[in-house]
């Protein structure tokens, strides 16, 4: 399974929302993510992908859509 | 680019220009006399009217209607039917009192208030109600003084002062009574006997312009409704035309009907609300009161100095205390009379010869409205003395001031055991 599919599944598990068709939509504006959800996502990503995402890294400007998060994960995995 | 800058800053510049215009030009009607406003201000007793200059200046400089400054304190608020403002109105006297001073106002407060109207007082008459209760041993309370003090008074003082002995003393007193006074640095200079620089004076003048305009915009909104509620209704109660006997009978009748709940001849309301439950505790409570030695004597000299400076012909009224009440509270009448002697000596020895001394009449029925304030027949007695002085031409006074009245020597002079006339 690739990162994108895993992220979609993760978000569906955590927040009961399917973001397959809205990968470029702002997840905060859509009401899917809030500060609580952000942290849950961070913890889940840490466990799933074995990366360390600092809380202050997950800014609302650069980690706010499905595609941006995927790019972020890739960036951190390769770092 | 320039267009964009103009769009951004154009409105700001326009606003600044407008604000400056409003501040430096003032309201269009600032030099106009408005009789209705003047009459209301004259009896309003509002702190704003006292603190600010505009309404006082407007009324006192009105050439078509004669307003006379009545300096005093809490007695002006005793507005029964025989109050000077009501008598003047009812009998169409050629003057109307402009009441200056309320509860807590004392000589120093009056001094700084006079600064604002020095031009308007020039060669005019005035009434000065001087209460021996001002002359307490404890100094004038800072809070009361600060309440009636204003920037406008400070500026007027700075502009008028010429560095005389009295000016320096006034500045020192001001700094002592109001340590954080506005324009402290300039006042300190006066106290230290330094001359204000041209720049200082320019600054005073500029600030004064702005203050005066602000005053002219706003003080008209705080003149209360004493005229409508407390003066005009009582004017209608008085007999027409003027008849001294009828007035006296009316004063007795009104006094009788309003002093039923106590044996002191005190207004029922006052006795219930102001004395009330403290009554038993007040027995002999004033036995230690002493008005004979006080810093107030030097402050009072500042007032006299100012009156002399403006060639004002003033009549001084000295009230009594309610004799029955004084007996109950133990106030020493000998001490009271000694204070009156000291005040009178300070006045007459310097050429202030118009003194209406009512101080021995506190035992006449319905003379006092409460413990220390005139009412009914007391106001009529006041009128008998004051009205002729104001209505008739008086010889110009010649004042010869003695700076020694501004001194610890005089403040501490004991008029009980010494003959006041020995003080030089």
């Amino acid at each position: 399974m690739d990162i994108q599919a895993e992220l979609i599944e993760m978000i569906d598990d955590l927040f009961m929302e399917d973001i397959t068709d809205i990968m470029d939509e702002d997840l905060y504006n859509a009401g899917i993510l809030d500060s609580m959800g952000t942290v849950e996502l961070i913890v889940a990503m840490e466990e799933k992908f074995g990366i360390k995402v600092p809380v202050s890294e997950l800014g609302r400007d650069d980690w706010n859509t499905g595609n941006k998060i995927v790019a972020g994960i890739k960036g951190l995995k390769n770092a | 680019m320039l267009k964009r800058l103009a769009l951004i800053f154009g409105p700001v510049i326009a606003a600044v220009v407008l604000v400056l215009a409003v501040l430096f030009v003032g309201p269009f009607d600032k030099h106009k006399h408005n009789l209705a406003t003047e009459e209301q201000a004259a009896v309003s007793l509002s702190p704003t009217v006292f603190r600010q200059a505009h309404l006082k200046q407007m009324a006192l400089s009105d050439e078509d209607h004669r307003f006379v400054p009545f300096f005093g304190s809490s007695e002006w608020n005793r507005m029964d039917a025989f109050h000077p403002a009501i008598l003047a109105r009812a009998y169409h006297r050629d003057y109307q009192p402009f009441l200056l001073g309320q509860k807590g106002a004392e000589a120093l407060t009056q001094y700084f208030g006079m600064q604002q109207i020095s031009k308007e007082m020039h060669h005019k008459k005035a009434v000065f109600f001087v209460s021996p209760q001002w002359f307490t041993k404890a100094d004038q309370q800072g809070a009361a003084f600060q309440f009636y003090f204003s920037k406008s008074q400070a500026l007027a003082f700075l502009k008028n002062q010429t560095g005389t002995y009295a000016d320096r003393y006034a500045a020192k007193r001001l700094l002592k009574t109001y340590p954080n006074v506005p324009y402290r640095d300039l006042i300190q200079k006066v106290a230290d006997g330094q001359k204000l620089s041209t720049l200082d004076l320019q600054y005073v003048k500029l600030t004064q312009t702005v203050h005066d305009n602000e005053d002219a915009y706003f003080s008209r909104y705080d003149i209360g409704d004493n005229l409508k509620n407390r003066v005009i209704p009582k004017v209608k109660e008085l007999p027409q035309p003027y008849n001294a006997e009828q007035l006296d009978a009316k004063a007795v009748a009104l006094g009788e009907s309003q002093t039923r709940n106590n044996k002191f001849g005190i207004l029922d309301n006052f006795f219930t609300n102001r004395i009330g439950r403290t009554f038993p505790a007040l027995r002999n409570a004033q036995a230690h009161f002493d008005y004979t030695q006080s810093a107030e004597y030097s402050d009072f000299q500042l007032d006299l100095d100012q009156l002399a400076k403006t060639h004002t012909n003033a009549i001084f009224v000295i009230p009594p205390v309610n004799s029955k009440w004084a007996k109950y509270t133990g106030l020493n009448q000998g001490m009271y009379q000694a204070a009156v002697r000291k005040i009178k000596y300070q006045l007459t020895s310097q050429g202030f010869n118009n003194v209406l001394d009512l101080s021995r009449r506190g035992n006449e029925p319905f003379f006092m409205e409460d413990t220390i304030h005139l009412g009914w027949r007391g106001w009529l007695a006041f009128d008998h003395g004051v009205a002729p002085f104001l209505e008739h031409e008086q010889p110009a006074p010649t004042y010869h001031l003695n700076n020694h009245f501004i001194s610890q020597d005089w403040n501490n002079f004991d008029p009980i055991n010494n003959d006041v006339t020995t003080f030089k």
């Binding site: 952000t38 942290v39 | 606003a15």
Partner: protein, 421 residues
């Protein structure tokens, strides 16, 4: 020498930031060279620092001269902690040292906030106007260094950031990385003209807020209402309801007016400080409200308190139920904010009340989500969500917020426990 310095400081006039028209006249006059240079694409770093320093000094002159010494001591303290932690973090990353650094950074603030509560209302000598806002800035830096997102810091930029004059006394609370980027770059002329335009507008709006509306609500309306309310006394009365609304509006217009000034002056200096208010009384829910009210503070608490609390709770699986996790975090977050305002029963209950409101708000959102899902499965449309439901949300939120401000004002403390009639 020291005595002479103190006397000199005492003799200087004291100018509170944005306190009176004269302050603006002088400040803007001193800013003219900065604005002109900025227009031509240059930042006068030294001049700007000197002007800032001058205006900071006159905040603490006169009777409050000792605050200037407290400020200097405080800045030295924070500089040592931040740079020591920075040096440490380059090589190591351990929790105890991180926690120790944060603790030392907030220690002066704790002293200042606790002293009045245990010392009869007397102020701590360590205190100075703006200490909380400086603490927010340095603590955020330590946290971002721990996270590894803030790796390079410069002493000169650090001092300018901490002592950024327009916002020193009451925010908005900026972040170091954001500030540094603005400071090291000069906006293009187009951008700067946009900033100028906004600055002018914010200044004017600020005047209207602070000197007209706040004066109206705070001085003309509030003072007589308080007198009436205290005269009537008792547990609750109508004038107290008036106090509630008058105080709420006064608080907003006063603080929003001040914040507009701070933002405007920052813009003139080419620093795009974040906004602090966004029409808070239009908030349709309490969560929405905290995205609109004192934004830089609530976001600071969100990023550095709430999210970290949640992180610890989730990571260590303290609570099984995620709703319990978020609830506990909301309440703790708001309680800490309450304590930060001051150690008094009314600030703390204000925080608690908002914490509970956040929990209820969240519960309602979950409920709505669930109901809508069921309705969708049952082939029905979602629950109504239109301008009427929004209006209802606004009204309810507004009343709640106003009530919480009444608590915040401390007036109930006076009415209930210190009403000397």
């Amino acid at each position: 020498m020291m005595q002479g310095l103190i006397q000199w400081l005492q003799s200087l006039p004291n100018w509170q930031p944005y306190g009176e028209p004269k302050y603006f006249a002088f400040l803007l006059a001193f800013l003219i060279p900065i604005v002109v240079a900025m227009f031509f694409g240059r930042r006068l770093k030294i001049y700007q620092s000197l002007v800032s320093l001058g205006f900071i000094v006159v905040m603490y002159t006169g009777a409050s001269y000792h605050q200037l010494f407290a400020l200097v001591a405080y800045v030295i303290w924070q500089t040592i902690i931040v740079f020591a932690y920075h040096a440490y973090r380059k090589k190591y990353d351990t929790f105890p040292i991180f926690a120790g650094a944060v603790f030392l950074a907030i220690l002066p603030l704790i002293f200042v906030k606790v002293t009045p509560a245990i010392n009869d209302g007397n102020m701590s000598l360590l205190g100075f106007l703006g200490i909380s806002y400086l603490t927010f800035r340095s603590v955020a830096m330590i946290m971002e260094m721990r996270d590894g997102v803030l790796t390079e810091i410069k002493l000169s930029t650090f001092l300018r950031f901490m002592l950024f004059m327009p916002t020193i006394s009451s925010g908005p609370i900026d972040r170091y990385r954001r500030f540094e980027e603005d400071y090291d770059n000069v906006p293009t002329r187009e951008e700067y003209l946009d900033l100028l335009e906004k600055a002018v507008w914010y200044l004017m709006l600020g005047f209207f807020y602070k000197y007209v509306l706040a004066y109206f609500f705070g001085t003309i309306l509030l003072a007589p209402l308080k007198v009436d309310a205290l005269a009537q006394g008792g547990f609750m009365n109508w004038p107290t309801v008036g106090v509630m609304y008058a105080y709420g509006f006064d608080l907003f217009f006063d603080f929003a007016g001040y914040s507009l000034f701070a933002v405007a002056i920052s813009y003139l200096m080419g620093i795009k400080i974040p906004m602090n208010f966004n029409q808070p009384f239009k908030a349709a829910s309490i969560k929405d409200f905290w995205n609109r009210w004192h934004i830089s503070l609530s976001f600071w608490f969100r990023d550095f308190v709430f999210m970290r609390l949640v992180f610890v709770l989730v990571k260590n699986k303290i609570f099984k139920n995620r709703n319990v996790t978020s609830g506990v975090a909301y309440i703790l977050n708001m309680l800490i904010m309450g304590f930060w305002h001051g150690v008094t029963w009314y600030y703390i209950s204000y925080g608690l009340l908002h914490g509970i409101a956040m929990v209820l708000n969240d519960a309602w959102l979950r409920k709505k989500k669930k109901v809508n899902k069921e309705r969708r499965l049952a082939g029905k449309g979602p629950l109504p969500s239109n301008k009427w439901t929004t209006a209802l949300g606004i009204i309810v939120t507004f009343q709640f917020v106003m009530f919480s401000f009444l608590l915040f004002s401390g007036f109930l403390n006076q009415l209930w426990f210190h009403n000397i009639k």
